[in-house]
C-alpha cells in the first residue's frame, strides 16, 4: 500500500490556511517569492514562513518581513510582546472583586457605541509606526469610547481584547486539512458545502468506516470537499469512484487539496449517472491503431488520437469499476432526492458495508428511512443528528456560547445486506416464519 504522510511544516507549492486576528481565514498558496496581502493586517513574503511547523504564529514587520511569535492569536495575554496591553488588562482585573462582577452599570452598547471611522483609522495608521498601530488604535478607542468607564471590568477586558485582535498585525499559518477546507467554505458560502458541519463530516467518515485501501462509491455535491476528506483518511491508498450528474464533475475545491495531481488522478475516477446506470450502452468503442498507422499521422492528428484514447480508457476504466461493484461504502452528499437514489445504488455496495447519506435537511432522510424500512437489502437504517456546542472557555465564566451557527445537516446510515431469497424463505415454513420475520423487523 502506498502511504503519503500528512505534512507538518509549511512547504512550497502547498495551500495553507492563514488565520487573522479578526478571526477571518484565508487560503494561501506557498509560491516561491510570493507576497501575501492581508489587507489592514499587512503584507508578507511567503518565503519567510516556509519550513515553520503548522500552527506557528507570526507578527508582520515592515518590508514584508515576519517574526515568529509564541502562543496563538486568541490567547494574547500569554504573549510577552503585549506588555503594555497586558498591564492595562491586569489593572482592570485587580479592580474586579468577585461580587461586584455585575452588569448593573453596563449600558447598552449596541448602536450607541462610538466607533472609529475608517478615516480615523487611516490617519492613525499614518501617524503611528508600523507594528504598533494596533496599540495606538486601542488607546484611541479607549479614549473615544463614551461608555467605556461604565462597562464592567470583565466587559472592558473583553472589549480591549476584541479591539486588539481586530488591529494587531499578526497571523497564524495552519494546515489546510479537510476540517479547515470545510470551515473555509462554511464561512464563505455554506450552500456550497450543503451547510455541512465539521461534526457531521467527522461522523460521516466514521460511519462510512473510511480507511486506507478502501474502494468507495461517492456522490459529492460539495465541489470535492468530501472527496478531499476521504483522500485525507486514505492517504494515498485505495480508490474513489465519484458519480456525478453532469457531463463533467465539479471538483473545484480539489485545487486546494495538498495531494499531488498525479495522486488524485490515480485515486479518483469519475463517471456520470448515465454511464453508471447504463454502463454497457456508454462504454466507448475503442480499438488501438497499429504503431504504423499512428506514425503516419500528422502531429495534430496524433495528439487528437491520444486524447481520445486516454478519454476512452478513462471512461471504460470507470465503467469497469462500476460494473465490478462491491464497493466498501456508498457515500452520498447530494441534493438529489435520496429515497430513490439510495434504492437505485444499493446493488453496487458490498455485503456488510455501510451506506451513509448526508442531507442539509432532515425531511428527505426521514423519507429515506421510511422507504428503507421496507427494503430487505438495508439493515438497521438510522437517522443521525450531531451538533457541537462550543463554550466560552474563560475560567470562572464558563458557559455555552450565547449564539452559534444553526444547521449542520443530518446523516442516514444503513448496512448493505443480502436477504434470504424468497424461494429459500418459502421452503416448508409458510406463515409461521413470516410472523417471526415481522416481529424481528421491529427489533432491527
Amino acid at each position: 500500500m502506498t502511504f503519503i504522510k500528512r505534512q507538518t511544516t509549511v512547504q512550497y507549492h502547498q495551500f495553507c490556511l492563514i488565520r487573522l486576528p479578526s478571526e477571518g481565514i484565508k487560503i494561501v498558496e506557498i509560491r516561491p517569492q510570493g507576497i501575501v496581502k492581508l489587507g489592514k493586517f499587512g503584507t508578507f513574503a511567503v518565503d519567510q514562513i516556509v519550513g515553520f511547523p503548522y500552527g506557528q504564529s507570526f507578527e508582520i514587520l515592515d518590508d514584508n518581513n515576519v517574526r515568529p511569535i509564541q502562543g496563538s492569536l486568541v490567547e494574547l495575554e500569554d504573549d510577552e510582546q503585549d506588555d503594555s496591553l497586558k498591564e492595562k488588562i491586569q489593572y482592570l482585573r485587580q479592580l474586579d472583586v468577585e461580587s461586584s462582577e455585575t452588569n448593573r452599570d453596563l449600558v447598552d452598547i449596541g448602536n450607541a457605541t462610538q466607533e472609529l471611522t475608517q478615516e480615523e483609522i487611516e490617519t492613525l495608521k499614518k501617524t503611528s509606526n508600523g507594528a504598533n498601530i494596533g496599540e495606538a488604535i486601542i488607546d484611541k478607542l479607549i479614549k473615544s469610547h463614551v461608555n467605556f468607564s461604565q462597562k464592567t471590568k470583565h466587559s472592558q477586558e473583553k472589549y480591549l481584547r476584541r479591539k486588539q485582535q481586530k488591529f494587531l498585525r499578526r497571523f497564524t499559518v495552519d494546515l489546510l486539512g479537510p476540517s479547515q477546507l470545510l470551515q473555509y467554505f462554511l464561512e464563505k458560502d455554506p450552500t456550497k458545502v450543503l451547510d455541512m458541519s465539521e461534526e457531521s463530516m467527522g461522523l460521516l467518515l466514521s460511519l462510512a468506516n473510511v480507511q486506507p485501501g478502501g474502494r468507495y462509491l461517492v456522490i459529492d455535491e460539495t465541489g470535492g470537499v468530501i472527496v478531499n476528506a476521504l483522500l485525507d483518511r486514505m492517504r494515498g491508498s485505495g480508490e474513489l469512484l465519484v458519480v456525478h450528474e453532469n457531463e463533467h464533475p465539479n471538483h473545484s475545491a480539489l485545487k486546494y487539496s495538498n495531494f499531488e495531481p498525479s495522486v488524485i488522478d490515480r485515486m479518483v475516477k469519475t463517471i456520470n449517472l448515465l454511464q453508471f446506470f447504463e454502463p454497457e450502452d456508454e462504454r466507448v468503442q475503442w480499438n488501438d491503431l497499429s504503431q504504423q498507422e499512428i506514425e503516419e499521422m500528422k502531429s495534430s492528428k496524433k495528439a487528437h488520437y491520444y486524447r481520445r484514447r486516454d478519454n476512452a480508457i478513462q471512461i471504460n476504466d470507470a465503467i469497469d469499476n462500476a460494473v465490478k461493484g462491491d464497493f466498501d461504502a456508498l457515500i452520498i452528499v447530494s441534493t438529489l432526492y435520496t429515497p430513490t437514489l439510495v434504492k437505485k445504488m444499493i446493488a453496487k455496495v458490498g455485503g456488510s458495508r455501510p451506506i451513509v447519506v448526508y442531507s442539509q435537511y432532515k425531511e428527505p432522510l426521514v423519507e429515506t428511512q421510511v422507504e428503507s424500512m421496507q427494503n430487505l437489502e438495508l439493515l438497521a437504517p438510522t437517522l443521525h443528528e450531531t451538533r457541537c456546542r462550543p463554550y466560552q472557555t474563560i475560567i470562572g465564566r464558563l458557559h455555552p456560547l450565547m449564539t452559534m451557527k444553526g444547521g449542520g445537516g443530518y446523516l442516514f446510515h444503513a448496512i448493505r445486506v443480502f436477504p434470504l431469497q424468497e424461494g429459500v424463505q418459502a421452503v416448508g415454513r409458510g406463515i409461521k416464519k413470516r410472523k417471526i420475520d415481522d416481529q424481528q423487523s421491529v427489533d432491527s
Binding site: P178, G202, R387, R389, I415, D443
Partner: protein, 361 residues
C-alpha cells in the same frame, strides 16, 4: 486484522458480528465445531463459512434469522453492553476529526476503558500509525489486551500498557522507539494530573492536539487550569449533542372528513329516529292490555324495523387495525427521537501545543 481492511467471505477463525437486533449484536469467532444459539434459533458456524459478509442466515429449524456482519469499530461499539465508560461514535468521530487524526497519526489514549474508542482509533491511524493506550485497572487492561490480540491489532498499530499515567507518566518500555504522539485523548477522572507528564512523550516537531473527556463541569475547570499551566493554547470546551431520529408515518386526518363523519353519525341517528317514528305510526303505541308475549314480539319487531344501516363513514379507520402507510389512507412522514435520549456524555476540552520552532529552523 478484523477492524482494519476488508474481507468479502467468512472463513474459519474470522471474527463475525451476528446481528440479532439493534441492541443485540453478538461477536463470534468462527469455529466449525461450534453453534451460535440465540432466541431466534441455532446457527452452526460450519454453515457460515463461505458465506458473504452481510448474508442473512436462517436458523437450522428455519424459524428465525440473523445477519452475519463484518466487524467495524462502529458496530463493535454498538455490540458492547451499555456502560457509561463507552465513548460513543458521535463523540469519538468528532474528536478524531477535530484533532486531525488520520492514517499515520500517533495517538495516546488513557484510559483504555472498554476499548471502544481504541478500535476506532486503530482503524483510523491504520498500520502506518500507532495507538498508545494506557489502562490503570488491571482486569480491564487484561481484557483489552486480550481483545487487541484476538482482533489482530496488538503491536500494529496498538501498544497497551498497564499503568497509572497520573502518577507514573506515559513513558513506556514495551515499544521500540519514542512515543512522539501527535494527538492525545484523556478519559480519566483527573486528567489534570496526567497533563503534567505529557511533555516527555509528545512530538516536538509538529502541532499536537489534546482532548480531555470529563463528565462534570468542575473537572473541566481543573483541566483548563492545568492546560494553561503546561502551555497548551487555543483551548476550547465543547459538548457533542447527538440524537437518533426514528421515522414513522402519521395519518393525515382532514378536518373536512371529521365534519363529514359527524354528519354521517347525525344522519344515522336521524334515520333511526325516523324509522322509530314510522314504526310507531304503523303499529301505534303499545297498549296496556297487550300480553307479555305480544310485548316481547313487538320489541323484537321494533328492533328489527328501526335498525340503521351499519355501514358508517369511517375516514380514519376507527376501531380497525391499520398499519402505518396503509394505502387506503393518507400519511405524512414524521420523525421522533428515541423515548430516552442520551442527553450528555462528557465535556470535551480541546487544546493544542505548538511545535518548538528551534527544531525546525
Amino acid at each position: 486484522m478484523s477492524f482494519i481492511g476488508y474481507k468479502d467471505t467468512i472463513g474459519e477463525g474470522d471474527l463475525v458480528l451476528a446481528f440479532l437486533g439493534r441492541d443485540a449484536i453478538k461477536p463470534i469467532v468462527i469455529n466449525k465445531e461450534e453453534t451460535l444459539n440465540t432466541r431466534f434459533g441455532s446457527f452452526p458456524h460450519a454453515q457460515m463459512i463461505g458465506l458473504k459478509y452481510g448474508t442473512q442466515m436462517a436458523s437450522i429449524k428455519g424459524y428465525g434469522f440473523i445477519h452475519l456482519l463484518q466487524p467495524s469499530a462502529e458496530l463493535w461499539t454498538l455490540s458492547l453492553p451499555h456502560r457509561t465508560q463507552i465513548v460513543y461514535t458521535p463523540d469519538s468521530s468528532y474528536i478524531t476529526q477535530r484533532l486531525g487524526i488520520t492514517a499515520g497519526s500517533r495517538v495516546i489514549e488513557a484510559g483504555t476503558g472498554s476499548a471502544s474508542f481504541s478500535h476506532a482509533l486503530a482503524r483510523t491511524v491504520s498500520a502506518e500509525g500507532h495507538l498508545f493506550t494506557y489502562e490503570f485497572h488491571e482486569p480491564r487492561f487484561l481484557e483489552a489486551k486480550k481483545e487487541f490480540e484476538e482482533h489482530g491489532l496488538l503491536g500494529t498499530p496498538v501498544t497497551i500498557n498497564h499503568r497509572d499515567v497520573c502518577k507514573d507518566g506515559f513513558e513506556i518500555s514495551n515499544y521500540d522507539g519514542d512515543v512522539k504522539a501527535t494527538s492525545v485523548f484523556l478519559d480519566l477522572p483527573a486528567p489534570w494530573e496526567a497533563i503534567a507528564h505529557l511533555s516527555q512523550v509528545i512530538s516536538q516537531d509538529e502541532k499536537v492536539g489534546i482532548c480531555c473527556f470529563s463528565p462534570c463541569i468542575e473537572q473541566v475547570s481543573k483541566t483548563l487550569d492545568a492546560l494553561k499551566e503546561y502551555g497548551w493554547t487555543s483551548v476550547q470546551m465543547v459538548e457533542i449533542q447527538a440524537r437518533r431520529w426514528e421515522a414513522r408515518q402519521q395519518m393525515v386526518r382532514q378536518v373536512d372528513d371529521a365534519v363529514l363523519r359527524l354528519k354521517d353519525v347525525k344522519r344515522r341517528k336521524l334515520e333511526g329516529i325516523e324509522r322509530k317514528r314510522r314504526f310507531y305510526a304503523e303499529h301505534g303505541q303499545p297498549r296496556d292490555e297487550d300480553s307479555e308475549q305480544e310485548v316481547e314480539k313487538r320489541k323484537e319487531l321494533e328492533k328489527e324495523e328501526t335498525k340503521v344501516d351499519r355501514t358508517e363513514f369511517n375516514p380514519f379507520g376507527r376501531g380497525l387495525r391499520i398499519k402505518d402507510g396503509d394505502e387506503a389512507f393518507n400519511w405524512i412522514k414524521v420523525s421522533k427521537t428515541e423515548a430516552e435520549v442520551k442527553s450528555h456524555t462528557s465535556y470535551l476540552t480541546f487544546a493544542f501545543k505548538q511545535a518548538t520552532p528551534s527544531s525546525t529552523t
